[in-house]
């Protein structure tokens, strides 16, 4: 189990002092209080994945780890991707990335979704999935630009359900 108190001292200090309140939900903000009811059984739903594992396709530009407040861009991952070809740009000292390097399903479980679709547990797998980098300390651009853009693309693909995974 991961606890803040067990993390690397620098990371711990940072997380304890970070102003999470600034980006926390506010009752007067419709985005932060929105709740979308599931309108049909999961067996009829189109499912997409979003991860902050920093995965990218070989031909895509890698995430930029030199941006001081974090790279808030995203990469589109087609559902037909060969998972083992995905590269991992995330190199935060806060976590162990060896698991995801061994099995990308740990963060982007496309093989698991394929099996669930075969068994009829979900209706369909969305054509596009999305990968962010995480380690975004200054999330203004994420909130204003890239997250709404991904939300729009998911809606464009008529996605009903999204599973999100941090690392």
């Amino acid at each position: 189990m991961a606890r803040i108190d067990d993390l690397d001292p620098l990371e711990r200090l940072f997380l304890k002092g970070y102003p999470f309140k600034r980006f926390a939900p506010r009752p007067d903000d419709p985005v932060t209080t929105a709740v979308t009811t599931l309108r049909k059984p999961l067996a009829q739903c189109t499912v997409a994945l979003v991860t902050t594992a920093g995965l990218s396709l070989p031909g895509q530009p890698p995430f930029d780890t030199s941006i001081k407040r974090g790279d808030s861009s995203f990469r589109e991952i087609p559902s037909a991707v060969a998972l083992e070809s995905l590269e991992m740009n995330h190199r935060s000292w806060a976590f162990d990335y060896r698991g995801v390097l061994r099995d990308r399903n740990l963060a982007l479980p496309l093989d698991r979704l394929r099996e669930m679709r075969e068994r009829g547990e979900i209706g369909a797998i969305a054509p596009r999935h999305y990968s962010f980098m995480g380690s975004i300390v200054g999330p203004a651009k994420l909130t204003r630009t890239s997250a709404p853009e991904v939300a729009r693309l998911l809606a464009e693909d008529s996605v009903d359900v999204v599973l999100l995974t941090p690392v």
Binding site: T36, V50, S92, L113, A151, L164, P166
Partner: protein, 82 residues
């Protein structure tokens, strides 16, 4: 920081009319970021679906997360029973 990013992205997607659920590895951060629905899993950072090459465990975690999709008493933060 991944957890804050996930929460912020998740809320934008939920706002766009799509039902969402996320995995949490750090309960303390998810309690602060309060995404609509989250499943806390007792695994180390970097291991949101438990273990590499363990399809059975990964599937059980996804199924437990999907079981929260019908909840509307948000924010929902449940713990995965291993």
């Amino acid at each position: 920081m991944c957890h804050q990013s996930v929460g912020l992205i998740q809320r934008q997607i939920e706002y766009a009319g799509i039902t969402t659920v996320s995995i949490s590895l750090l309960r303390e951060i998810t309690e602060k970021t309060r995404p609509p629905r989250a499943l806390f899993v007792p695994f180390p950072l970097g291991y949101p679906l438990g273990e590499p090459d363990n399809a059975e465990l990964q599937t059980r975690i996804i199924q437990a997360a999907f079981a929260l999709l019908s909840r509307t008493d948000c924010p929902v933060l449940e713990t995965f029973a291993t």
